[in-house]
């Protein structure tokens, strides 16, 4: 034993050191983190990824978003599919994107038209966020409304057909579609954890817990925190893009029924869903519908939501009630009824 003990001890220690070193190297490599900021889809986007392929994954998110924007979704980009659709009244939708158009069409009908992706002409009349923002004449809005309506668009699973004068606008779904495409790509990459924010629409990817702050409407910072597992989160708020004329504030979320900014008693709706496309679409639809109908719509799609009304009262769907924490005491949670 006198001779054997030290040798086996030496071996043990050597082994221990080797294992520790290997674990350390593995940990360092997989914890490798990479952040990237970029501008696409008319907003500020940021990606933070950890994992062996952190850098490649962050760049992939940028590539997917920019490609979707320029070549598929933007109605202002001459190279895009939607541009061609609006110009020719017809476009072939590649199979990889057909599910998104199905979701959009479904959401239009399920929401009773509160989500409508054919308001391009009406958005142009208002010009919110551009050099041409103004309050349009009533008859201008009426004329544009007559030509709009997703019920006039037909998607047969392969080809999208729209009547002349109708302008498809992907503004309320595009960021969500990009998040879904990014998640799909990450499925085959060495990504441990990722947080992708496309103008405030968020993909949380990977194991473990995530925290998401909900922007204080009209203020800086956040007023509440959601504790979530991987999912997508999207918010529509009237404080985001707007202009003021003669003391009246006109924001960018238009009610498809009136052609005017939606006025449903809400200032912000945050929707949580496994699908980026749905969270993006439903946040807009709920904002237009208001609290009660918005809640019902979320239930229909199995999504959760946080509504903030004009009186700073916060309404939460049951599924995430215990995951929401108010951090700003000027807001109060509505007691359950």
């Amino acid at each position: 034993m006198g001779i054997n003990a030290p040798r086996s001890k030496k071996l043990l220690i050597a082994l221990l050191v080797a294992v520790l070193a290997a674990a350390g190297i593995f940990l360092i490599l997989t914890q490798k983190e990479y952040s990237l900021d970029f501008m696409a889809m008319d907003t500020y986007d940021s990606v933070k990824v950890s994992g062996l392929e952190a850098k490649a994954a962050a760049e992939k998110a940028r590539e997917i978003t920019e490609n979707l924007d320029v070549n598929v979704l933007s109605r202002h980009s001459e190279k895009s599919l939607i541009y061609a659709l609006n110009r020719d009244g017809k476009a072939k939708i590649p199979t990889e994107y057909s599910q998104y158009f199905n979701t959009m069409t479904g959401a239009f009908y399920e929401s009773g038209g509160a989500f409508d992706f054919t308001l391009g002409k009406i958005s142009d009349l208002w010009g919110i966020g551009t050099d041409n923002e103004r309050v349009p004449e009533e008859d201008e809005i009426k004329a544009a409304l007559d030509k709009a309506g997703a019920d006039k668009a037909v998607f047969d699973g392969g080809t999208f057909t729209v009547p002349e004068g109708l302008s498809v606008d992907m503004g309320a779904a595009g960021k969500g579609i990009a998040l879904d495409e990014i998640r799909k790509a990450y499925g085959s990459m060495l990504v441990r954890r990722a947080v992708v924010s496309l103008g405030g629409s968020i993909l949380l990817y990977g194991k473990g817990d995530f925290t998401v702050g909900i922007q204080t409407p009209g203020g800086s910072g956040y007023m509440a925190v959601l504790n979530l597992k991987q999912c997508c989160v999207s918010t529509s708020g009237s404080y985001e893009r707007y202009f003021e004329k003669d003391g009246v504030r006109y924001h960018h979320i238009l009610d498809p029924e009136t052609g005017y900014p939606a006025d449903s008693g809400l200032v912000s709706v945050t929707v949580v869903s496994d699908s980026g496309t749905l969270s993006d679409i439903l946040s807009t639809a709920c904002f237009v519908l208001g609290l009660e109908n918005g809640k019902a719509l979320c239930e229909k799609f199995g999504c959760e939501a946080v509504f903030i009304d004009i009186e700073n009262t916060v309404h939460v769907t049951d599924g995430i009630k215990d995951k929401l924490e108010i951090t700003d005491d000027t807001y109060r949670i509505e007691e359950s009824r």
């Binding site: 070193a21 103008g199 968020i202 925290t211 702050g213 909900i214 956040y222």
Partner: protein, 123 residues
């Protein structure tokens, strides 16, 4: 007797390994508590300032299509002026907390303070 010599060097190896590991951890975490402000233009890092150790006023005029002036002083950083249309970047005000971000979309310029208590902000 032979055993004793080996045991000593073993401790040495383990000791060095532990110190190396601690150093690595330290360098990985160094500055973790500090508020680091980053200015990027078109995704490229232009300037990085430690707001907790910075003592002199820093004026940054990034090379963009617009005339943008960013100032860091007294532990804060902000867009002082910009020739863009909406001036949302200037209206965002002074940034001082981790996770604070101000963006000038037309100039593709972002000022942000790294860290923050939440993983993301939805708006």
């Amino acid at each position: 007797m032979k055993g004793k010599v080996i045991r000593k060097s073993d401790f040495l190896i383990v000791g060095i390994a532990v110190i190396a590991a601690l150093c690595l951890l330290y360098f990985q975490r160094a500055g973790d508590g500090h508020r680091i402000a980053r200015v990027t233009v078109n995704s490229l890092l232009v300037e990085e300032i430690d707001l907790d150790t910075q003592t002199e006023k820093t004026v940054i005029k990034p090379d963009t299509e617009y005339d943008v002036v960013i100032v860091a002083e007294n532990g804060e950083i902000y867009f002082e002026s910009s020739s863009c249309r909406d001036k949302i970047c200037v209206k965002t005000g002074h940034l001082s907390k981790k996770g604070d971000t101000a963006v000038c979309l037309p100039a593709k310029t972002v000022v942000s303070i790294s860290g923050g208590e939440v993983d993301a902000l939805t708006y």
